[in-house]
Point group: C2
Chain length 376, copies 2
């Protein structure tokens, strides 16, 4: 994983290489060992018509990269899934999934417009001018109205995730924030304030995948993909049956738990999609760790802190580690692999007994969802 942040110091291909290089070093492999490369990028920058080609070429993987995948903010997970499918099908033994995004090269107005277009363009953005924070504000107000979730509880998510990001040398925001600072930050789309929102980040992340036999040969510390669950949902925000959680998350989680034979309560460490603080609160519920409506209480009780019922976003999450769309899903995998190997810094290494981890990556406002279960 590259350092996340404003990375005007590198091109998209240089940024990707930072992640690929670490992946190769970590796995002890060379480019010639990689049979397949899947690149995930939304390509918000947009000037390269074929971003996967330039990324693969710069990383020395020319000839191995037949495809780019995209699933909005869940693009990194989609890349993992496509590479996983190729390995699991027996077509190749060793693959790499690469996620990369440069988001700071477009201006803020463009970013907002693109974010707004995460809904149905003709019906929502074009007619109502809905921006991305506004979509999540619908969820936040509905959750507050129905369940009594408070602005303070949402702010606690930011405080927690900034605390862990302050201990993560690759995070975009390596500083802590107080509850008061979050609550007093300027409104973006009420009740979401500036410090409830994830930033506009550049970054890259990658993961090497291998078939079971080959994995055992190349490493003493394999981390197994037990299952990848996925789902998608309507592009019309107005057609969602409610605004209290994400159906796509619920369905992807159900598929992942079923395929893996794992119960929600067995998950010890997780990276969840906290693009806004309310999203993390809904994720606790949709992933089955607490009943619907009690997510606010879950964070208030410290159940998602390090050593709680499930240690959530010890990387700092999208909220504070940053959220470069194509990289996010693979950065979650990177974090969880390090967690399962117990290689994290003091103050953000989860205590483990079952060695079961979960990543949760959403595209758009629940248009896509991936849930991946890992085990060491």
């Amino acid at each position: 994983m590259s350092a996340f942040g404003v990375r005007n110091d590198v091109t998209i291909q240089e940024l990707a290489w930072e992640a690929v290089r670490e992946s190769l070093d970590d796995s002890g492999l060379e480019q010639k060992d990689i049979e397949l490369s899947v690149v995930g990028t939304v390509n918000t920058r947009g000037y390269e018509l074929m971003p996967a080609v330039v990324v693969n070429e710069y990383s020395g993987l020319t000839g191995r990269g037949p495809v780019r995948v995209e699933a909005a903010c869940a693009t990194g997970s989609a890349a993992l899934w496509a590479a996983y499918s190729a390995v699991a099908s027996g077509q190749v033994d060793i693959a790499i999934a690469i996620g990369v995004e440069k988001m700071n090269e477009v201006d803020t107005a463009t970013s907002l417009a693109v974010g707004g277009r995460a809904g149905n363009y003709l019906w929502e953005f074009h007619m109502y001018g809905t921006t991305f924070p506004a979509y999540y504000a619908f969820y936040a107000t509905a959750h507050m109205q129905k369940f009594g979730t408070t602005e303070e509880q949402m702010a606690m998510v930011a405080v927690k995730n900034h605390r862990y990001a302050s201990r993560n040398p690759k995070a975009h925001f390596q500083f802590e924030v107080t509850l008061e600072e979050v609550l007093k930050s300027r409104p973006i789309a009420w009740p979401l304030k500036l410090l409830d929102c994830s930033p506009i980040s550049d970054g890259a992340a990658a993961a090497v995948l291998a078939s079971e036999d080959v994995a055992r040969k190349i490493t003493d510390t394999p981390v197994w993909i037990e299952a990848i669950g996925y789902s998608s949902d309507t592009s019309n925000f107005t057609r969602r049956p409610h605004y209290l959680g994400l159906e796509a998350t619920r369905k992807a989680a159900e598929m992942a738990y079923r395929r893996a034979g794992v119960e929600p309560r067995q998950v010890e460490v997780a990276e969840v999609h906290d693009c806004f603080t309310i999203a993390e609160i809904m994720a606790y519920e949709d992933l089955g760790w607490v009943e619907k409506g009690k997510g606010g209480i879950f964070i208030a009780e410290g159940q998602s802190e390090l050593g709680g019922k499930v240690s959530v976003n010890l990387s700092g999450g999208l909220k504070a580690k940053g959220h470069p769309l194509g990289a996010t899903g693979l950065a979650q995998i990177y974090e969880l692999v390090k967690q399962l190997r117990e290689e994290r810094e003091r103050g953000r290494q989860a205590p483990l007994r079952n060695y079961i981890a979960l990543s949760h990556n959403v595209g758009g406002t629940g248009h896509y969802a991936y849930v991946t279960i890992l085990r060491r």
Copy 2:
């Protein structure tokens, strides 16, 4: 497959549905039977941030579509490959690959600019203004200089493919052209003239894939994917070792033939990537049907005509059937499935003995290549 052409009568999702509907009708399946949908689109139109979501929703496949894939002009084949990998891995039994593109909603200047960006943006388009036909003109002139290939031989490809397109009710150009008309058409990038070039088309195509057991249950006329080969190449046109053929095609073909256990001479019917007439001539060579340099003679001798050594582009090819980027690879599969089932119109049904077919789909100027081998 939808009708190809200028399809300003439909939105991208309506266009895709034309192909999905026919796929469902043909397979006797309903949407509820489809476990996974992979959408391929380059999204040249660009206003939908998540084109796969709107396409799946309109086709009644909400929840089943976790990803969009892109591989420039080979995007349709990339979608087939991703769906194939998921089925072959055992994750799902029934999947659909959907390819769709609307190209006529951007103006010609934009199309040319986008086409030019098929090379390396910073080094080629930005510095030299290279457009897409110019790239293939490099190949054409090199082939002429080295092997004595002639403008007449290239024109013969256009005459042949227009002849078959005139018999294909879904083709963009359902008219014949004479050798003289091709040779006298206006120069675009010498030696390529207007009638050497594929058009700017809108269209969609789709394919239903099933695991072996399930396929036998749902149809009496299954067509088997024997293998999919793929490769990619440098984004820097100037780094190609020569301009006499596409290394990506050669490598993808080698992988496909090896995995399928098929020899080039066993292929009886093929759809090859004739974005420009020279591309079809190079494909004869790179796919192993004739030695390098003899592609011009191959067409002149009628070896690629209906009933020749291999019947090539009986659909009309990209050249005359049309080339909507995301749809092209799947439209090739559509054509070959119909050919292998011997369901084509009089005057364009290949005579078959081995029932082995091949599709060849290139992205950019050899940046990507897919070769798929089908057998009935």
